[in-house]
């Protein structure tokens, strides 16, 4: 028997450390080669790390939430034969991330953090946070049905004595409204007490850190405008009706992205930028890489459509679909998730008149796009029905003056209201 120390391998370009977000093995477990052992989250992506040896786990370095440097010991195994140099001096795994020196403001309590970048559909949270330490109370037939339906009963609140889960509870869970704000359809809630503490780890912690940095270092100003997209809608419909098979169905976003290219390549290039507030340098980018804030089951991701300036509107649409679905299904690679120079957040399908999106640090601006709908508008003294869309934008006031931000939005409005100028 020998000892083998498994070290965190190099898991991606430029990644120097990762956070342990889940252990799939425990001390004493026998592990086979390729067996998934631990999930490591880097700046953007979460990677499952498989074993390279057969052996028995004798030590785990670090707990969930700990940061581990690439090359630092992660797991120690008892293996047949010699093993690897176990006695090699072990660099202490770094206890906490120190990616960039940032003041440590008290993080906002998780329950009151507004959905970052106003993602359109906040993930539905169970009304009562489940207590996962105990197995859920349910009869065999209910447990079996849950299994068939693929429901984890620890997510379902039970209405029976001692929280016992009934068929009705399962029905209510399965047919629960998918958006918040919907009324529970089962029954009036009971008075409840108790506080559930949810550790903010993994992606949630990353989001919290990033939002705190953005919000506390960037003096934001926001600016709102409404845009008449009646003509744009007509053009979009026509293009979708006449597209070829390989051309994607276009939403408003590709048009807005192409319009931004026009603006950034014109007199508004100062907004396609990253501001390094440490050395006070504003980097203006020729590449127009637009991040798209995307809600996933795992939390907020910002996949990036690269080089929009070199893409047709159809290519923009295709790439947008690709990166967004890769972010949603977890297949996005690091390259898909980094390098944005400006961000759009789709405030989406569920309406909303305005929002104050938070800038994706170190960028200098963010555009929020609201749902388009038919409204009564006065044109030439007459009330007319037009398709209208609200835009919300936020800007870094250190490097973007109010007039400049407003001018960009006004120019964008002009382009979108005369969509032929975009193409």
């Amino acid at each position: 028997m020998g000892l083998h120390v498994f070290k965190l391998p190099d898991i991606g370009e430029g990644v120097v450390e990762g956070e342990i977000t889940a252990w799939h093995v425990a001390v004493g477990d026998t592990v086979v080669e390729d067996q998934e052992m631990v999930d490591i989250m880097t700046d953007k992506a979460t990677v499952g790390i498989g074993s390279t040896v057969d052996g028995k786990v004798s030590k785990l370095y670090g707990a969930i939430g700990d940061m581990i440097a690439v090359g630092a010991p992660l797991i120690e195994f008892e293996v047949d034969g010699e093993g690897s140099a176990a006695a090699e001096p072990e660099p202490e795994p770094e206890p906490m991330p120190e990616p960039e020196p940032t003041p440590e403001p008290a993080p906002a309590p998780p329950t009151t953090v507004p959905t970052p970048k106003s993602a359109p559909t906040p993930a539905p949270e169970p009304v009562t946070a489940p207590d996962t330490s105990r197995r859920p109370l349910a009869s065999p037939v209910v447990r079996r049905r849950a299994k068939e339906e693929g429901v984890s009963l620890s997510q379902v609140s039970g209405s029976g004595p001692a929280g016992r889960i009934t068929h009705d509870d399962l029905d209510a869970y399965l047919t629960r409204p998918q958006t918040v704000g919907g009324l529970p359809i089962s029954m009036p809630g009971q008075e409840r007490s108790g506080v559930t503490e949810v550790p903010v780890v993994g992606l949630r912690r990353k989001i919290a850190e990033q939002m705190t940095k953005s919000y506390t270092t960037i003096p934001h100003f926001s600016y709102f405008e409404e845009v008449d997209v009646t003509d744009l809608e007509a053009l979009r419909q026509w293009m979708n009706a006449n597209r070829t098979e390989e051309q994607p169905k276009l939403t408003y976003l590709p048009f807005i992205m192409q319009a931004l290219v026009k603006l950034f390549q014109g007199e508004h290039g100062g907004c396609n930028a990253r501001y390094n507030d440490q050395n006070e340098i504003l980097s203006l980018h020729s590449a127009i890489n637009i991040g798209i804030a995307t809600t996933t089951d795992r939390g907020l991701y910002v996949p990036v459509v690269k080089h929009v300036e070199a893409k047709t509107i159809w290519e923009t649409g295709s790439e947008l679909i690709r990166v967004a679905s890769a972010a949603r299904d977890g297949s996005a690679n690091l390259d898909d998730l980094t390098g944005s120079t400006f961000t759009i957040t789709s405030l989406g399908r569920d309406g909303g008149l305005g929002a104050t999106p938070i800038i994706n640090h170190p960028e200098v601006g963010i555009l929020g796009v609201h749902k388009a709908n038919d409204r009564a508008v006065v044109i030439d003294g007459k009330i007319t029905i037009r398709r209208m869309m609200n835009l919300s934008s936020s800007w870094d006031h250190r490097v973007v003056d109010g007039a400049d931000g407003a001018a960009l939005v006004q120019a964008l409005k002009q382009l979108l209201e005369h969509p032929i100028s975009i193409l």
Partner: protein, 472 residues
Amino acid sequence: MEDISCQVLVIGAGPGGYVAAIRAAQLGLDTVIVEGDKAGGTCLIRGCIPSKALIHASERMHHLAQHMDGHMGMKIDGSVSLDMKELISWKDDIVTKLNKGVEHLLKNAGARLIAGWATFKDAKHCTVETKEGPVNIEAENVILATGSTPIELPFMKFDEKYICSSTGALDLDALPEKVAVIGGGYIGLELGIALRRLGSEVTVIEGLDKVLAIFDDELRRPLVTWLRKNGVTTHVNCLAQGAEVNDGKVELTWKDGGGEIQAETFDKVLVTVGRQPNTRGWGLEKMGLRMDADERFIRIDDQCKTSMRGVFAIGDVSGEPMLAHRASAQGEMVAEILAGHKRSFDPVAIPAIVFTEPEIICVGLTPDEAVEAGEEIITGKFPLAANGRALTMEAEKTGGFVRVVARESDHVILGIQATGSHVSELSGEFTLALEMGAVLEDIAGTIHAHPTMSESFHEGVLKTLGHAIHTV
């Protein structure tokens, strides 16, 4: 030489394997089951069922002996005799009936039973040596249900004549006058008590400091009392050293707690030091399966999947507790998984029953286990001596009781234990209560028929709630 292929191949027709095969066939899967002995497995052929037959007979014998002295106004004038061969033959009839029944059920369901010893070449191919010659089987899915066998002491090999395993003890041709039982676990005590009640003189040699150490003292006390009152000698902290057969007797030596070597002569020595999974002699090593941490059992997940895709293991070969009803439940589940159902093995409780006198049931957590699991608990114990039906059946004589363990905060029942004559039949309600997630008030609100022993459960629950009617 016959070559066949099937969707489901089950190895071993014990309570795990035959249930899996019947269910798989019911679900329309092309199913083959291979058994090297008789359909029914240890449970039906040389375990649960035959031992319960002998235990029942021994109870009769015990009653007859009571009536020799006069009891309940009934007295036997004359003598009571035991023809062991007749008794074994009566037991064998029951076993045969069940064995035939299993074969019939398999056939009716449409599963093909092949009699012979299977040897695997790899995970999906085996050859069965049958009377008609070898049969090569290729299977899409394999369910391993090879069971377990009694553990043999290396210095005391089974000859099943003088040194007997439980198998030999169930096929005695004469009642031994003097028997030593090595190992005071549930098998040794069940058989030892049966032999005692049939008339043997019984000595139990136990390595730990108490017999039936898996249970807490409160639960063991009535059993220990019965053993003492009925003249069963128990030597604890004693380790068997060897056995020598001379002139039809066995000279047994053991080391006692003080390190002294003791010796005594017996007619038979019964070795019941546990059971081991059957993992050798059928090509398991060719299948490339992962074993558990102790290399003892085949490692499975909560769907009984092994490390090899399409190979499942159920029952004793797949881990503790080695109980027939666990195997059956796993077998049924695996068949359904193979038929495309989504299932996992997630019982709240697997009941354990010991058929000693008195009987002992343990379902769910004992008070000690609950506290160890971090629960704040309340418990209540109701004595059978306060239950009318128990009195009429003399089931209270051994000081039995029903004990309930519940979580203090929400009254969810966490465990139920009982000991006493005939209490084993209460286990169904106990287990149901746990599986349904019953709280104390559910049981309290259920009318239990009078006069039955099940009222003791109701009263035990009331006692836990602090307001039992028939006890103070």
